[in-house]
């Protein structure tokens, strides 16, 4: 899942860069941790993406659900002109959720991968 933010001025669109984020190690390999560790994992995980001075407001509060077959986004505190839509992109083999108003847009791109024989394989299905 990746997130991108845009400012819109009429038909023109400008990407708002996120500030530097730590990279996932390029040599990172999936290894399931021991069951005891996972079972003790209770708490809050908090991820923040700070953007570099977006000029247009995009305010909402929502809830996202991740399950193996679907990804669902509900907006709970949204202004009247805010819209939300999703689509599948055959060319990039990804699924996209777009939250936008007349001035700004947030695009969430999601792809599902399966781990098989030591490799991640894209599981795009339609």
């Amino acid at each position: 899942m990746t997130v991108k933010r845009y400012d819109q001025d009429g038909v023109a669109e400008k990407e708002v860069q996120a500030r530097n984020l730590p990279r996932i190690d390029k040599d990172w390999v999936f290894k399931a941790r021991p069951a005891e560790d996972r079972d003790d994992k209770i708490g809050l995980s908090h991820s923040t993406v700070p953007f570099d001075n977006p000029s247009k407001p995009l305010n909402f509060t929502g809830i996202a659900f991740f399950v193996p077959t679907t990804f669902t986004v509900y907006l709970a505190n949204a202004e009247k002109d805010l819209t939300i839509a999703s689509e599948s992109n055959f060319l990039t083999h990804t699924y996209q959720v777009e939250i936008k108003n007349a001035q700004a847009a947030l695009r969430i791109s999601i792809n599902k991968e399966l781990y098989s024989n030591g490799q991640w394989v894209n599981a795009y299905s339609k």
């Binding site: 996120a18 079972d39 708490g43 995980s45 923040t48 953007f51 809830i63 839509a85 299905s125």
Partner: protein, 132 residues
Amino acid sequence: MPQKTLGVICALFIALVSDGTRASAETDADVLSWLPQPAPGEDLLVVRRNAVMNKMAEVTNNRVTIVKFDDDFETKCPTLTSLLSSAGNRLELVTPIFSFSTPPKRLSIWRGAGRRGPSRTLSLKILHVDMC
């Protein structure tokens, strides 16, 4: 945030983390009385999630979108729930990490910038492990 909306969000998390056991009659009456009980053979979490989502859609004018990765069959796999908010210059994702201690329902999350994409693009990796 309107008080009604905030109340629904709070009820959502309470509903989803509840295992269905009743701490007290008062608690159920105040917060969970509108949640349905699962019919025989139905999964408690799925039934309550759907009820809460319907309530959310009701108070938010159906501002909802669902991305289907595959056939939308009901699943007993763990559901990862996050609060998502955008304000000012930041996007935030707050995820309660619960213990899914009953095998094979387990999941893990890794976060950071994508190793393939630009260094300033958030990438989340959500792994469902040993399940389904």
